[in-house]
Symmetry: C2
Subunit: 315 residues, 2 copies
């Protein structure tokens, strides 16, 4: 048995996961930002204690604990640097956690954890090499090679949301211009919709009706729903979104040629409506025209992918 | 001891390589295009025989033979598909070679071979994870993870010359628009110079003088030489070239985070004059600002990288 922990901006979740990557129990608590690393770790240890107590288990029955974080881990040192709503600077997470439980502790980036989860127990479980992207406020990317996370010599790899697909294009928070993330994240989708809706001739778009005329209420789901109902503006926005998303997917396939490419995150709930648009574009763009080709699939583990993957780090 | 073979468009080269990746002997013959795979393999076997005869060695003293080809190999089947000046369609190279010598035969893409060579005996020999690019008529890219070539589930990977860095940009022979290769190959450099030199106000550029006024004689070396001598047009061309080359290098570093990134091929002979421009731009662009960072180096093995790497496939 393994324990996995997902340290998020609003919640910390912990789960008991078996050897096959099946989540057997999950607990969570709300997470306040601007805590110290010691407070985060205390919360994590409390969640683990809760699982052990409720299951009547001892820590000796757990092989290892994995912690997924939205930042850059150093799994040699057991330290973590985050620069999102959670701020950590080389925080000694492993050492601190081991004050509560003397057990193997692994730290890993949350997108890499999600990729490992899909590789062990989700959409890529039948193959050795896979890539999983998580479409959300950014694009998280995880590379799995031979069923192990690959993140480069300094654990900072698979930041493929920050490959430039439009040189000198849209500004990205990372400092570059034209990153894939700046075109294919949920905020990018909403930005493009708002751009078109600012024109008077587009004021009768279904998107605006569904958002009760309030631009600030537009989200990805509304845009997709309006597109499915035939709204011209929504279709135009989704078409452009699919185009740029496909450029990035094709780029990664050309570099890494995974057997399965998994698309997760909120937008992936659109399922085949989105994926069919991506597949047709990507198969036109990739370098290798012969069979077998990379299979593009929707993620299967949803919001639990992060903690399942964290648990599987010690497998 | 190993034998490595580099099947090129104009020459076939073969070499005797030791365990450390040192090339001990090299022979070659000219290669006519439009041959059958049987003729290519006969030439390869003849070169190997020449090495063995001249060294007084028996094939039993050779651990394996590796063949680098400018196409897509399938090392499970021992077959090769090429669609360059050499045309091969699923040609059973291994089976054919084993008619001459009953020995382990590996087939691999030539850019992947070059990357393996640099990883075993060249610029990346001290690290586990490296990427090597070869700047030529295209961009060849090879990924080495834990000292082994990584080319994906179907051997078609590391075609990173075909990551789009300018969506809807310059047409690429691969069918996409805006590929890195379409901006950072030698022909791309020359194309940009010619564009500027077509304007009358640029007719006094040193590039044209060095090419004796003949646009068709412009090559990469001339453009770099003119730039070093202060020519304004050449500087502008090189600056643009370095910009796009850096976008691709930074993209690959963000995805794979190799410990060493090696730049080889003809243009890399410009050494630090080019690399200093690349380094300053790339370190601004990569996602990870903390140390340690990927080190960017010039390739060390030159034109022999392909056959050294081919030999090392069996190591």
């Amino acid at each position: 048995m393994y324990l996995g922990i997902d340290l998020g901006g609003t919640h910390i979740a912990a789960g008991l996961v078996n050897e096959e990557g099946k989540l057997l129990k999950k607990v969570s608590c709300s997470n306040l930002i601007n805590k110290t690393y010691k407070e985060y770790v205390k919360n994590m240890a409390d969640l683990c204690k809760k699982i052990l107590d409720e299951e009547g288990m001892a820590i000796s029955q757990i092989k290892s604990v994995g912690i997924g974080i939205p930042g850059t881990p150093n799994n040699t040192m057991g330290t973590v640097t985050c620069n999102s709503s959670i701020k950590l600077d080389d925080a000694p997470i492993r050492e601190e956690f081991q004050k509560y439980y003397n057990i193997e502790v692994n730290v890993e980036n949350d997108a890499n954890c999600a990729a490992l989860a899909e590789a062990v127990a989700g959409a890529a479980k039948d193959v050795d090499h896979s890539v999983t992207i998580t479409l959300g406020t950014g694009i998280g990317v995880g590379i799995v090679i031979n069923k192990k996370v690959y993140s480069g010599f300094n654990y900072a790899g698979a930041e493929a949301g920050h490959i430039v697909i439009v040189t000198d294009g849209e500004k990205c928070p990372c400092g570059r211009s034209g990153c894939w993330e700046a075109y294919s994240s949920a905020p990018a989708l909403i930005r493009e919709a708002k751009k078109l809706l600012q024109s008077n001739e587009n004021k009768d778009s279904l998107i605006l009706k569904m958002a009760n005329g309030d631009l600030s209420r537009i989200d990805g789901r509304i845009i997709f729903e309006a597109s499915k109902q035939g709204d011209k503006i929504a279709k135009e926005v989704i078409d452009k979104y699919a185009k740029y998303l496909s450029e990035g997917v094709a780029n990664i396939i050309n570099v890494l040629m995974p057997e399965v490419f998994v698309i997760g995150g909120g937008i992936s709930r659109q399922g085949d409506y989105l994926l069919d648009m991506i597949r047709s574009r990507v198969y036109e763009k990739i370098y290798t025209k012969s069979e077998p080709k990379t299979v593009i699939k929707v993620a299967e583990l949803g919001v639990d992918a992060g903690l399942i993957g964290a648990a599987m780090l010690g497998k």
